[in-house]
Amino acid sequence: MTALLQVDDLTLDLGDTPILRGVSLAVRPGEALGIVGESGSGKSMTLRTVARLLPDSARTGGAVRVGDRDVLGLRGRELREHRRGLGMVFQDPRSAINPVHTVGAFLVERARDAGQDTAAAREQALTVLRRMGMTDPERRMRQHPFELSGGLLQRVMIASVLMERPRLLLADEPTTALDVTTQADVLALTDELRREMGAALVLVTHDLDLASAVCDRIAVMYGGRVLETAPAATLRDDAVHPYTRALLASRPPLDQRLTEIPVAPGSPVPAAQTGPGCPFVDRCPVALPICGSALPEERLVGASRVRCHRVEEVA
């Protein structure tokens, strides 16, 4: 099956600072891919590159294709059409939704802008809001963003995206700004609707458990590179890359009390400070001299694609 989103050897520089150093990913129609990593790993910038929401100083290399469109070369009208086919959910709905207009105006704005039937768009929005578990959506539509809680507002944000029936949903830490109890709710409802509509999802998060609960496959990023890509279940139980293992080990277990919160030793390194070899080399407990000088090839181990020189030994 051909991929809906295909990212090949993507590089990104902001001014003189390298951010992404050769990222390759693929998402099939209807599939959910999680991108997991610490801050500075480049996961959000990968997502923003797909949406082409980059600052003016950005320079890109490699290729990003959505359907049969070459995303990196798009301009003007074509770029707008490309974005219309995507749905982007931002982290903080409070700043991502214009505070001066009503929720209803926000939801039907796209239809109004395109000269479509706003009454139909309104109905569509009400349906999706109800499906997102919102009571009395008519009243909510008349209210302004500041009158809604963060959880409700993120539901509005997601509804505004889903009501347009995008082929590809991009979500950047969509539940980080919400409290823990609403997080699960919002994410589960979103996933259910997405599956019904057959939309693919790219979920960017720092939370491996969250990603494995929702996604089919997970890509682990570090220092502007993808170090391991695997089916969610495989990754959770049989992670190969030492970095993925460190991430998994640092999750506090749910069934016992710890005296100390486990951490992956060392601190994350941005792409700009990594050498020619594996970006994780400085923190890696099993690093060899070669790890600092040469980038390991991507190899298939079981169901996982891994970049590690010691893949045979660790696997």
Partner: protein
């Protein structure tokens, strides 16, 4: 909303009342008295003086005089000029018309120049922005009388396009004569408005909600109108309100420079002549205009931003 309006209007009335007391005290405490100004260097007999004092009501206590005046104002009568014996309302009508036309003209220029150049700078980063920003920064440092000097020597003396003094006849002559004064008055405020417009438009352009709109494929025109201009407008309107309100008093400098008979000149001469009712009336107009224009700006902000409506509740 209605409660807010009521509260603001009440505040305006209290402000006007206090301002009138302050003005009264200043005039009362200043040396010299109105009849001395009237009589000049040849004072008539004491009996005549007493008659005049009684006629003008100057024999009453200052508190009583103030209260009498206040009572008349509340019933719509601004009183009679002590010097010319004209009703105050007709004495200040023409100067008020000059000053208010001048301020209105300048306000239009401030909105056009300030908002226009600010948006231009915000939307065209690079050399255009740098040029406009430099120009408007300098404009914020150009006092009205400096601007008046430049305009007079260039456009009146050198080129002869506009009069350096007074106003012509008819509507065209009137506005023709007001053009240079209005420009002189508008320059500094336009610079400020431009800088505020640029800053708040930039802030909105970089905001996440504009990114969302961009992501949703909203067309350029609507993006600019509905997300950038609409959101940037409240702070711009507030600054315009403050600046224009300040011009009602500030116009005196320009009026003097161009020889226009406005409220400021009348205020200065009336203070010197201790023409108490005229001074009070002008003070009321100036303070009232300030309060009213700011209230107007606040109402526009509330119409534009729902969050402001909540704060006001």
């Amino acid at each position: 909303m209605r409660r807010f309006l009521l509260r603001r209007l009440l505040g305006a009335v209290v402000t006007l009342l206090i301002a009138s007391i302050v003005v009264y005290l200043c005039v009362y405490l200043s040396p010299g008295s109105p009849e001395q100004v009237l009589f000049g260097s040849r004072p008539p007999s004491p009996e005549v003086q007493a008659q005049v004092r009684e006629y003008l009501g100057l024999d009453q206590s200052p508190v009583l005089r103030y209260l009498t005046w206040l009572g008349h104002v509340l019933s719509g009568d601004l009183g009679t000029s002590l010097i010319t014996q004209q009703p105050v309302s007709s004495r200040i009508a023409d100067p008020a018309l000059v000053t208010l036309s001048l301020v209105a003209y300048a306000a239009v220029l401030i909105v056009l120049l300030g908002v226009g150049s600010g948006l231009l700078a915000a939307l065209r980063p690079g050399p255009v922005d740098a040029g406009v920003t430099t120009l408007t920064s300098v404009a914020t440092a150009v006092p009205a009388f400096v601007a008046a000097g430049v305009l007079i020597s260039v456009f009146a003396v050198q080129l002869g396009w506009f009069p350096a003094y007074g106003q012509g006849d008819g509507v065209v002559g009137w506005w023709h004569g007001l053009t240079l004064p209005a420009v002189a008055l508008a320059i500094l405020a336009s610079g400020l408005v431009s800088r505020v417009t640029r800053a708040s438009a930039r802030q909105e352009l970089a905001s996440e909600h504009v990114e969302t709109a961009r992501m949703r494929g909203i067309s350029g025109g609507r993006l600019l109108r509905s997300h950038v201009l609409h959101n940037a407008a409240p702070s711009v309107v507030t600054v315009i309100g403050l600046q224009v309100a300040g011009l009602v008093a500030g116009a005196v400098v320009v009026e003097q420079a161009f020889g226009l008979n406005g409220l400021g000149g009348l205020l200065i001469s009336s203070v010197q002549q201790k023409d108490f009712p005229v001074v009070q009336a002008i003070a009321l107009v100036v303070v009232g205009a300030f309060v009213l224009l700011n209230l107007l700006a606040d109402l526009v902000v509330m119409a534009l931003d729902p969050r402001a409506r909540v704060v006001a509740r």
